[in-house]
């Protein structure tokens, strides 16, 4: 039977079992929206901005393991996706983004709402393609889903011109994929695995360094078994957090710029660094030439291009983390390294991360309250201090998950990601920890959460600053707070270096803002109020709750490795 391109598009989504579609309409996508109007089984979500739309799809994908699917119009609809696509690309999140496009005969004419969408996103996605013939449509969509979710997952963009949406063609959807230029690696090389385990077996001071790859591969259970089987301590990146439960006796903590001392010491002093699913980003390595300089390095990664790029690796293994770890469970054995483990754990105990030097309701207390009150939780963060504190203090186990923009560091990510996560996990509590800066980058999504009756809790840590940059300005730029104060009014003293009670009042009032959206807004000033607020948030089952906490504007994230320094050059506190 012959059907239109738009109908083929809907059929393809159904064949791919797409249950939730994040979609914002427009001129060149209107035929697709019309075909979706009476499509069975697809829940359509209308966020209030395309950037938030793609972050929501990202949060949905990270929290469910399914592909997040977006549909927007051409031109500004497509360009608004850019930040979200780059975010997903950096953190290996499977997305398929459909964009409308002007009819093929107008492409290149500077038509209304025309941009070269594929040209714009080419360097920030896994694959991008414009459908140029109706007969290619079904195969391209099939390939798009396959490319997005296999190998190292990532975003794929499919640009569909309006005339292709209207054109009639076959209703067949392919059942098989064969892309000659794309064969994701399967299996794990047994010889290399055995070689790596042999190296590990003879180590005196080994460490596992675990990145986001283990979480993406859904290999937490296997990773925990491997740690227990070998007895080797585990350090994670912030993307790897939760790879083994954070309260596990073998868990040391996060490595990197704001990791804990024990983790960074373990990396600096280990003799075998067994890394899985990390790309050795500059935020975790500090200066490259001192990083794990006495260690032999083993690196398992699904992406061959991530191996030996930043850090030279002795034993490379290209494999999916779950496949490799499962294989290792067969051959690995217990190591006799009790002294080394207790040495690291002693440092961890003696140098805990805390915010005892600050008064009032600290982010530490807020996040620890969440740890105590929630058992079945997805927590998202925005970017900046709120993110760093969360990654420092949040406890993650098999019933909890952390979603954060680790690679690109996208402000405005947290709240829409929480909405997407909730849509995919109605049985779980979802909390977003945001700052007063980042939350304003996608605050309009309050309307989305209200519309779809999503009980998401948004915690705003309000310090009146773009706090992370402010911290750098305090420490490294002589307290010249250039464009970081959010209380600023034109009448303020330009050289203000000391915020005090005379400062202008903060705008907006987030509690009133929440109320104007028909959401619940609560301001908290102490732990008791905080607990009451979380209890109230839980009782509010039909919409979002905003909890605004004014925190110490001067609170910094410590410890810290200044940019360009070695991991052992940590500033422990102010």
């Amino acid at each position: 039977m012959e059907i239109s391109g738009a109908k083929m598009f809907v059929k393809a989504l159904q064949e791919e079992h797409v249950e939730t579609l994040f979609a914002y309409p427009g001129g060149t996508a209107i035929d697709l929206f019309d075909a979706l109007y009476d499509a069975e089984g697809i829940d359509m979500i209308l966020p209030r901005h395309e950037q938030a739309l793609v972050h929501a799809a990202d949060g949905y994908a990270r929290s469910t393991g399914k592909v997040g699917v977006c549909l927007v119009t051409s031109g500004p609809g497509a360009t608004n996706l850019v930040t979200g696509i780059a975010t997903a690309n950096f953190d290996s999140v499977p997305l398929v983004c459909f964009t409308g496009q002007v009819p093929t005969n107008l492409i290149g004419n500077d038509a209304f709402q025309e941009v070269d969408t594929v040209g714009i996103v080419r360097s920030i996605c896994k694959y991008a393609v414009t459908v140029r013939k109706r007969e290619d449509l079904a195969r391209i969509i099939k390939n798009a889903f396959y490319i997005a979710k296999t190998g190292k997952p990532g975003p794929v963009l499919v640009d569909i011109p309006k005339d292709i949406q209207i054109a009639m063609g076959s209703d067949e959807y392919p059942t098989e994929v064969n892309i000659r230029g794309y064969k994701p690696s399967e299996g794990a090389h047994s010889g290399q695995i055995k070689k790596a385990l042999e190296k590990l077996k003879n180590a005196k001071r080994p460490v596992f360094l675990i990145g986001g790859g283990v979480n993406i591969a859904h290999a937490r259970k296997e990773m925990t078994e491997l740690a227990e089987l070998t007895g080797v301590p585990v350090v994670t990146t912030i993307m790897g957090k939760g790879a083994i439960p954070t309260n596990h006796p073998l868990y040391v903590g996060n490595i990197g710029m704001h990791g804990n001392l024990a983790s960074n010491k373990a990396i600096m002093e280990c003799d075998v660094l067994f890394s899985i699913g990390t790309r050795f980003n500059d935020r975790i390595t500090g200066t490259i030439d001192t990083f794990a300089k006495n260690a032999e390095i083993i690196h398992i990664d699904i992406d061959a291009a991530s191996i030996s790029r930043n850090i030279k690796v002795d034993i490379p293994i290209v494999a999916d983390a779950k496949v490799a770890i499962t294989k290792m469970l067969k051959y690995a054995e217990k190591l006799d390294i009790a002294d080394w483990v207790s040495e690291i754990m002693k440092i961890k105990e003696e140098h805990p991360i805390n915010m005892n030097s600050y008064s009032g309701l600290t982010p530490e207390k807020i996040i620890k309250t969440i740890n105590e009150m929630y058992n079945n939780l997805i927590i998202t963060t925005d970017v900046g201090q709120n993110q760093l504190w969360t990654t420092q203090y949040i406890e993650i186990d098999e019933n909890k998950q952390l979603l954060t923009s680790g690679g690109l560091g996208t402000m405005g990510y947290g709240f829409p990601a929480a909405i997407g996560a909730k849509l995919g996990n109605m049985d779980k509590d979802v909390i977003c920890i945001s700052g007063d800066g980042g939350v304003q980058m996608n605050i309009q999504e309050m309307a989305t959460a209200v519309s779809y009756e999503l009980p998401v809790t948004l915690v705003i840590l309000n310090n009146g600053y773009l706090g992370n940059v402010r911290q750098w300005q305090e420490l490294f730029f002589n307290k010249r707070y250039s464009s970081t104060c959010l209380r600023y009014r034109r009448s303020c003293n330009r050289d203000c270096m000391n915020p005090d009670k005379c400062c202008p009042k903060y705008t907006p009032n987030f509690v009133k803002l929440a109320e104007s959206y028909d959401a619940v807004g609560i301001r908290v000033t102490n732990e008791e109020e905080l607990r009451a607020a979380f209890t109230k948030a839980r009782e509010n089952k039909n919409g979002p709750t905003v909890i605004e906490a004014y925190i110490d504007p001067a609170a910094n994230v410590f410890p810290m490795v200044p940019g360009g320094k070695s991991l052992d050059q940590m500033i422990m506190d102010c």
Partner: protein, 165 residues
């Protein structure tokens, strides 16, 4: 640092050339030349890319290319026997008849073709390796200063079939 040669089989589709050259520029890899043409299979194009890099960057380039969905196959030509050719046109302007004789002599000596000429100008076609074409340009520049125009294509390369390594 060392001169590298890569042969690339890619999908013959709109935007693939941009994808490959964008990958080089986006990652700050400096390309010396790139050529592309359709193969015996009309759905496949073959590229020859030459650039200069250290070993580590070269490994990255190969991995990044391999990871591109549009790239079907990457072949490293750096250390294997290959045939390389580059097309070079040199136009010599304001020629006297003595100049023309000289151009013909040079062409004869080095195996260049005379592709075209008129009363004042002469067009020489040199099809040889990039290095030899460099020498040709040097020779024409010295012999006919400020009177030449140079147009060169990129190199194409193919693995040797008779030369043992």
């Amino acid at each position: 640092m060392k001169k590298r040669w890569i042969c690339l089989y890619v999908e013959n589709e709109i935007g693939v050339m941009a994808r490959i050259s964008g990958l080089f520029s986006g990652k700050s890899y400096n390309m010396d030349s790139i050529t592309v043409g359709v193969t015996e299979d009309p759905t496949v194009s073959r590229m020859t890319i030459s650039f200069t890099s250290d070993d580590r960057t070269f490994e990255q380039v190969k991995k990044q290319l391999n990871r591109s969905v549009e790239v079907i196959k990457v072949v490293d030509y750096t250390d294997i026997p290959i045939h390389k050719r580059e097309v070079l046109f040199v136009k010599v302007n304001s020629c006297s008849s003595a100049d023309k004789d000289e151009v013909f002599r040079i062409a004869n000596a080095f195996g260049y073709n005379i592709a075209d000429y008129n009363r004042n100008s002469i067009l020489v076609e040199c099809v040889q390796t990039e290095d030899k074409n460099d020498n040709a340009i040097k020779l024409f520049k010295e012999t006919f200063p400020n009177r030449i125009e140079v147009i060169r294509g990129g190199s194409v390369a193919v693995e040797a079939i008779s030369i043992a390594d």
